[in-house]
């Protein structure tokens, strides 16, 4: 039991960013404690069990995969900074992924962890665009995306300077946005670059046992370095005075002090910890306090359906695709869903379809589909029965939409006959387990690259600092720990 009352650094949230920051700080002798409200680590990339069956949340695939020996990429930086050997993550690369557009996926771009595959696909399907595409890729490769003080620029505007076909433009934006954009319609070019590199120039991989492997490695490193953590003990309030955080009021009613505080829970969420006095900690009722003049809450949330199969997807003829990004409409619309779910576009993930070593595979088949969803529509369902009915209805709608982009099955009931369990998360689930306001997985559209807050010793890391994706989240924790604590004036 960790019951100290003072730390060099207190970290709020035991997700990827918090754990990575904690490892750095503990390694260099800081007395550090991570406070986590939930009973599991991982935050937005966590896991759970129902009926003895293990599920991942968040992670479809780890992005930023590069072959062993590749230097100077985010994965390599991350491994070095956390003193993790590459083999510890036990990553296995994807088979192939697709971007499928049109009512039946008529236009498709295949990509793998070898960028030449995507380049050849663009040359073949969009011959008039290939020169512009190559110029865009050259720009992406040389762009300084980790600069903490870059001038924001519209990614759509930059891409349109190189590509004139809106279909190709939308097809490139679809995966990039779905895997990290907190902004509707457009995103900041630096963020586009981070995701373009993570998805296309680098690639997808996964440990056989999913995100829990990554989390186990991080926890082991943290514990070994001497870091402390308190689970099921969130921070209820940051008590400030003279522009600094004086102390933290914990969920259990006790108070602690810390020289530095790294908050990974989001910008608006952190802001509310600072101003919360007698208010309820129920995020929904906080959302309803209007108007709120502070940091904007993200508008984009998601539903995901998880279908457990009694056979691997390959037995259904679905053995080739790892991830499929789909859109059925003339333009790709990335915005807050008007209905409870917007099933026109989405992401399909088949976690079995990575190049696992012989004899290793997931114990069951999995088929996951993610679509944009509306937070208010899901949280407005007061009755549990109504919520469950909506889940059942939209589970069907999402699956129906996604199946249009999969290889055809022999019979209409093939999938349901192979299904042995299902689950689904909604915006309500996201807020319940992660505390993210608005069910906004990717946080606020306004990112704070230097992590600074109005309080001099409180820094943001994770989603709202703006390094995207699972590797980005870890690098965010590392960067903020380095920048504000280890290399800071009082280090």
């Amino acid at each position: 039991m960790n019951t100290a009352t003072h730390y060099d650094v207190a970290i709020i949230g035991a997700g990827m960013a918090g754990l990575a920051a904690g490892i750095r700080l503990a390694h260099f002798g800081k007395r550090v404690c991570i406070f986590e409200r939930h009973n599991a680590v991982g935050g937005l990339n966590s896991f759970y069990s129902i009926s003895g069956r293990k599920y991942d949340v968040g992670l479809h695939a780890m992005t930023n995969w590069v072959p062993p020996g590749t230097k100077g990429t985010p994965l390599g930086k991350l491994l070095r900074q956390l003193r993790i050997e590459r083999d510890e993550f036990a990553l296995h690369p994807q088979k192939r992924s697709r971007i499928a557009f049109g009512p039946r996926g008529e236009t498709s771009l295949t990509f793998t962890n070898d960028f030449a595959v995507l380049e050849a696909e663009v040359a073949q399907k969009f011959p008039a665009q290939i020169d512009g595409f190559r110029r865009l890729v050259a720009l992406v490769r040389t762009y300084d995306d980790v600069s903490l003080d870059a001038v924001p620029e519209s990614a759509r505007a930059v891409v349109r300077r190189h590509l004139s076909d809106p279909l190709l433009e939308d097809m490139l934006f679809c995966p990039v946005m779905y895997y990290g954009s907190a902004s509707e319609h457009d995103m900041e070019f630096g963020q586009f670059v981070i995701m373009f590199k993570a998805l296309f120039l680098e690639g997808f991989a996964r440990p056989v046992d999913g995100v829990r492997v990554i989390l186990r490695v991080l926890l082991d490193k943290y514990r070994h370095a001497g870091g402390e953590r308190r689970m099921k003990c969130g921070v209820k309030r940051i008590i400030a005075g003279s522009g600094r955080a004086d102390r933290l009021l914990l969920d259990d009613g006790t108070e602690i002090t810390a020289a530095h505080i790294i908050s990974t829970i989001g910008a608006a969420e952190t802001e509310r910890l600072c101003e919360a006095k007698s208010q309820t900690s129920d995020p929904k009722s906080q959302m309803e306090r209007a108007p709120h003049a502070g940091h904007p809450v993200g508008r984009l949330s998601y539903c995901e359906t998880i279908t457990v199969l009694d056979r691997p997807p390959s037995a259904l003829g679905w053995g080739e695709d790892t991830i499929i990004f789909f859109n059925d409409s003339e333009r790709f619309t990335y915005e807050q869903s008007r209905d409870a779910v917007d099933a026109r576009s989405g992401v399909i993930c088949l976690p079995n379809n990575f190049a696992f070593p012989d004899g290793q595979d997931l114990p069951e088949g999995l088929f996951r589909c993610t679509c944009l969803a509306n937070y208010d529509a899901w949280t407005g369902l007061a009755e549990e029965a109504a919520y469950q009915a909506e889940k059942t209805r939209w589970y069907g709608e999402i699956q129906h939409s996604a199946l249009r982009f999969m290889p055809a099955l022999p019979a209409a009931d093939t999938l349901s006959r192979a299904t042995i369990a299902t689950d689904m998360f909604t915006p309500r689930t996201i807020t319940k387990f992660t505390g993210h306001l608005g069910g906004a997985i990717y946080g606020s559209p306004v990112k704070i690259r230097d992590g600074r807050t109005p309080l001099a010793n409180v820094y943001l890391a994770g989603t709202d600092q703006g390094f995207l994706g699972i590797v980005g989240a870890m690098l965010s924790g590392i960067s903020m720990a380095n920048f504000h604590v280890l290399a800071g004036p009082k280090a």
């Binding site: 390694h27 260099f28 002798g29 020996g69 230097k71 100077g72 390599g76 930086k77 491994l79 070095r80 900074q81 003193r83 050997e85 590459r86 590392i478 380095n482 280890l486 290399a487």
Partner: protein
């Protein structure tokens, strides 16, 4: 402390923070950055490990002295000696 012993200490730290680099043929008089993929995060780690493992402080203004193994030895050896090492 000899300069060679000092270089060995720096090499051990580099091997620890960048296990994916081949450090067997590093030239003493050439900038480390030009022989290996080391970024500012890695240099911060060299400084931090010097403090953690050996109690040596390198102020930010002096990072420039860590450019090559030779300059590391010139700069760090007196610091080790001052600590009685």
């Amino acid at each position: 402390m000899t300069k060679d012993a000092c270089k060995k200490i720096v090499l051990d730290i580099i091997a620890d923070i960048a296990p994916d680099e081949d450090i067997s043929n590093l030239k003493s008089d050439v900038r480390l950055r030009d022989q290996m993929q080391l970024d500012s995060m890695d240099f911060l780690d060299i400084v931090m490990e010097l403090r953690k493992q050996h109690g040596i402080e390198v102020p930010e203004a002096d990072y420039i002295h860590l450019a090559s193994l030779d300059s590391c030895a010139d700069y760090l050896t007196p610091k080790f000696e001052a600590l009685g090492k």
